[in-house]
């Protein structure tokens, strides 16, 4: 008899089968993933992909008998009431375990969809493949770091505020013990004894001598010596900023169509996935604006529609306020993506420029402006129309401000644009060289 412990064998023995299965249902799964991208909250996307596949694609047909045709025999346990020759009404189709009568069709339909769960990686693969995405994980931003302070042992010099009391007193005590500094108790005891001793006692001079000796020694050996002092030492170290906040700014005025919003949403989803892969902690702030801006939750952000004019600077002001309130640029990596169809009140241009230059851009890691257009795109043969906002930002970009801007008309452009915007710096440089 052998006992074999298989528990440590590499798992995932049926991984190859799963891959084959996924390949088989790729089309349907992809469609489902695409659907879920439309329905799900950005944050939940890719967390777990529960996917339903119509059973058609994965049916394993067999020759099987159709219940409900022909004559069937049933042997059943648990008879309490029937005797031979009794008649029983047919149970409603599909009900109970016996004589399924005309239930044939019903039992076929009971299995009309096959549900299974995609892992996050599988989900992302399908999702990103939809956007013709090569491996996203290899793209990185330049590593962002700040200086941090941390404790690093003790030092003999330092500011009094950093005095390490415990350590100092420990040193002091060991020194006092080593040098046999008389304890206050000892001196007090000796003093008491002298006080009790009559002046005629012949021992008195010796005692007095001993007392003065002790006092002398206590004075010579200080309670705390400069030698004992220890200070807490700090050193600086580069600290990667591990949290990021993503600002989604979107124009929701009447001129934004559903198509444009869908484009924007896809872009935001990509950005979110990208950031969550890069940073441990990512927060999202949604700011929507017409001629006035408000911070809203995701549902409102994508769902509701507003009417009104368009004033971009209002969103920037709101963003500035939120940064000042909650996201200190020293602690947070701030990413901002703005989506708009490009409309803006022309008088707003200088205000926006100034806001961006003075407040927003310095605080941001990256500011991306995405101009979403009609599905049909700019018609060929026409001089490309530049929108108000585009002109504003273009002027700003020309002065060297770190602002990236792209136009997107079709869903398939989203990923290339995203990649351009977020490609690794040196990779881009290499590509250009």
């Amino acid at each position: 008899m052998h006992i074999v412990d298989r528990r440590l064998n590499p798992g995932g023995k049926s991984l190859a089968n799963r891959q084959r299965f996924l390949r088989r249902v790729k089309d349907v799964a992809q469609r489902a993933v695409r659907e879920s991208a439309r329905e799900k909250d950005i944050k939940d996307l890719g967390k777990d992909g529960r996917v339903s596949v119509p059973v058609d694609g994965v049916r394993e047909p067999r020759f099987a008998r159709q219940p409900g045709t022909g004559l069937h025999d049933h042997i059943l346990p648990g008879n309490k009431t029937y005797v031979e020759g009794d008649r029983i009404e047919r149970p409603p189709s599909g009900g109970g375990g016996k004589g399924s009568g005309e239930g044939g069709e019903g039992s076929e339909n009971s299995e009309d969809a096959f549900r299974f769960v995609l892992t996050r990686d599988e989900f992302l693969e399908l999702f990103l493949e939809d956007l013709e995405l090569p491996d996203l994980a290899k793209r990185r931003l330049s590593v962002v770091e700040t200086e941090g302070l941390r404790r690093a042992g003790y030092t003999v010099s330092g500011s009094p505020a950093n005095l390490a009391l415990t350590r100092t007193l420990r040193n002091s005590m060991s020194r006092r013990i080593a040098l046999k500094r008389p304890k206050p108790d000892e001196i007090a005891a000796l003093e008491a004894r002298i006080a009790e001793t009559p002046s005629s006692d012949p021992d008195l001079p010796d005692l007095l001598l001993a007392l003065s000796g002790l006092r002398e020694r206590a004075k010579r050996i200080p309670y705390v010596d400069p030698l004992d002092l220890r200070y807490r030492r700090f050193e600086t170290y580069p600290r990667p900023v591990a949290q990021a906040v993503m600002f989604c700014l979107m124009d929701v005025s009447g001129s934004m169509t559903e198509h444009m919003k869908d484009l924007a949403k896809r872009f935001y989803i990509l950005l979110h996935i990208f950031l969550t892969r890069r940073y441990r902690h990512v927060e999202i702030v949604f700011i929507r604006h017409t001629d006035k801006a408000t911070e809203v939750d995701e549902e409102t952000f994508f769902g509701s529609r507003e009417t009104g004019g368009t004033l971009v600077s209002s969103a920037l002001v709101e963003m500035k306020r939120v940064i000042a309130e909650r996201y200190d640029p020293n602690d947070w990596n701030i990413y901002a993506a703005q989506a708009s169809d490009g409309d803006n009140v022309s008088s707003d241009g200088p205000t926006s420029t100034e806001l961006l230059r003075a407040h927003i851009l310095p605080a941001c890691q990256h500011f991306a402006y995405l101009e979403v257009g009609d599905e049909n795109g700019p018609r060929a043969g026409f001089v490309e129309h530049r929108t108000t906002l585009w002109r504003t930002y273009e002027a700003l970009a020309k002065t060297g401000a770190p602002i990236a801007m792209r136009k997107v008309n079709h869903r398939r452009d989203i990923y290339p644009v995203f990649r351009e915007l977020f490609g690794r710096k040196d990779a881009r440089a290499e590509a250009e060289a």
Binding site: M1, H2, I3, V4, D5, R6, R7, G11, G12, K13, S14, A16, N17, R18, Q19, R20, F21, L22, R24, V58, R59, E60, P61, R62, F63, A64, R65, Q66, G68, T69, G70, L71, H72, D73, H74, I75, L76, P77, G78, N79, K80, Y82, V83, E84, G85, D86, R87, I88, E89, R90, G96, G97, K98, G99, G101, G104, E108, R115, F116, V117
Partner: protein
């Protein structure tokens, strides 16, 4: 209802040997001790014989893996296994499905997978159940002896896996997958139900020819030559006969037929059909012996656990734990109870084994009348061993389901005839019903009766090479249309030309339904 099969707790001899384990924890030493203790009972007390045991400890995930590859430790890759894995996993994660405590493989050595989550008691139970009960059955039952090769199966699966992987590398995933899909669809039509006649080899053929000639010379009489001959009318018949003989028609093993006779398949495609066919053949005995196999294993574990308990090798707590899971396993809900899902093979199997032991040891007058061969012979284990070796579910139930058990289970027989407005109670557990009911009940375990009876009847070789397949629609039960169409499509694809499936009522010869499919050129 089946409560009566639980024996009262046996009296324990105090001061016996110390228990094999205490508490729930176990380690490899414990497993070894458990196995040895079970062995000491299975051999001398029960007289079992078994393949050497190999006990493998696996995790829940590995158990799911094993489920996905129909229990085999290695198997070729196919998407359908991935689908089953996803299904099982989803069920398991949602807590809707418990995993088996063990899986046992009919191989030599006999591999039993046991779950690491099991308590020490459960490990004892599954070792007694699988490593001795099932193992004995695999080694001794005639169907397994006849159809499976316990020594060779793992090597064969290794070959199959490697072969299919090489095919995938060489011809692409899609091509291999298409063949496997088609082959899987026909898998249940891929078994030989009877041993084939051995083909004569050249030497014996020559010898036969010579003997025949000699015989002819011996009885030669010139007078016969003068008799008027019948006009040679049967020419076309002879051609059909010859064709059918050449193609070995009619043939119910469709995969075998395709492997040998499909005109356009390439060698590697034939080999894949063969692999699927042989795997189906390997599992064919298991399908025919569900009740007996489980009954045998359950009876063995019950005997072994009781014996362990009598010897004081397992404590009272462990014994109670065993009883609890044992009663769960052999529970048979009534037809109108919640959770009724057909007959529980463990329940019937175990109840019948117990019943046979009772008949052998303490028969009633009724038993003596019904089972004169075994009633009162006294050695229950010998009788059971003989039954385990020489029967399958259908013959087992047909012979050994006793009136008492039918009464205990309160079996009744309902006929569902579409021509009648209501269901009819054909028989119940009474004097008039026993035999009738037993016959129908046994038939429900006859695989040949359960599987649709489909065979390749003819090929239109002189015309468009159309393959003609018949389904003998027993009791006028036709096939599910959708699936039949799909499977027929696969069949036509493999055959390479059109295929037609006729559903024939064997009683009257009328055609109930007809399906057609034309080959798509996906394999060629």
């Amino acid at each position: 209802m089946v409560g009566s099969i639980i024996r009262p707790t046996p009296q324990r001899i105090s001061g016996g040997p110390s228990p094999l384990f205490t508490g729930n924890d176990w380690d490899f030493d414990t497993i070894k001790r458990i196995h040895d203790a079970c062995e000491a009972i299975a051999g001398p007390e029960l007289g079992l014989s078994w393949y050497p045991n190999q006990i493998e400890i696996i995790t829940a995930e590995q158990m799911l893996d094993a489920y996905a590859s129909i229990g085999m430790p290695l198997f070729y890759k196919h998407w359908s296994f991935g689908k089953h894995f996803a299904q099982h996993e989803a069920g398991y994660r949602r807590g809707m499905m418990g995993l088996a405590y063990e899986i046992v493989i009919n191989s030599d050595p006999c591999i039993s997978y046991i779950m690491e989550e099991n308590t020490a008691t459960m490990q004892t139970l599954v070792i007694a159940h699988a490593a001795f009960g099932h193992n004995h059955f695999f080694k001794n039952n005639y169907l397994f002896k006849q159809w499976t090769d316990a020594e060779g199966i793992l090597d064969y699966l290794d070959f199959a896996k490697g072969f299919i992987t090489r095919c995938e590398e060489r011809y692409g995933h899609a091509a291999v997958e298409a063949v496997l899909d088609a082959a899987h669809a026909l898998m249940s039509q891929g078994v030989h139900r009877y041993p084939r006649k051995k083909r004569p080899d050249l030497a014996s053929e020559q010898r036969r020819e010579r003997e025949r000639a000699e015989h002819g010379e011996q009885i030669y009489n010139d007078l016969w030559r003068t008799l008027p001959q019948k006009v040679a009318a049967g020419r076309p018949d002879a051609a059909i006969e010859r064709r059918k003989a050449l193609l070995e028609l009619p043939q119910e093993n469709i995969l075998y037929f395709l492997e040998k006779a499909a005109p356009r398949l390439r060698p590697w495609q034939r080999e894949i059909l063969r692999i699927v066919r042989l795997v189906a053949q390997y599992f064919y005995p298991q399908r025919q012996t569900k009740v007996m196999n489980e009954g045998c294993a359950t009876y063995c574990h019950y005997r072994i656990m009781n014996s362990l308990s009598e010897k004081g090798l397992i404590g009272e707590a462990a014994y109670l734990e065993f009883l609890q899971s044992h009663t769960n396993v052999v529970r048979q809900p009534n037809y109108n109870e919640r959770g009724y899902n057909g007959h529980n093979p463990y329940a019937i199997g175990f109840a019948m084994m117990q019943d046979i032991a009772r008949i052998v040891e303490q028969p009633t007058a009724e038993d003596r009348q019904w089972f004169p061969e075994i009633a009162g012979t006294g050695d229950a284990m010998a009788t059971l061993r003989d039954i385990w070796a020489n029967y399958r579910d259908e013959s087992f139930i047909a012979q050994f389901l006793s009136p008492k058990l039918m009464r205990d289970m309160r079996l009744f027989h309902v006929v569902d005839d579409p021509d009648e407005p209501e269901l009819r109670v054909e028989a119940i557990h009474d004097e008039r019903g026993y035999r009738k009911m037993r016959r129908s009940f046994a038939r429900q375990y006859d695989v040949a009766w359960l599987d649709p009876d489909i065979e390749v009847v003819d090929v239109d070789l002189e015309g468009d090479r159309r393959l003609i397949v018949h389904h003998r629609a027993l009791n006028r039960i036709t096939l599910q249309k959708d699936d039949a169409k799909r499977v027929l499509q696969h069949l036509a694809d493999l055959w390479g030309y059109d295929a037609v499936l006729k559903e024939v009522d064997p009683a009257t010869g009328t055609v109930l339904a007809e399906h057609h499919a034309s080959a798509r050129s996906i394999f060629f």
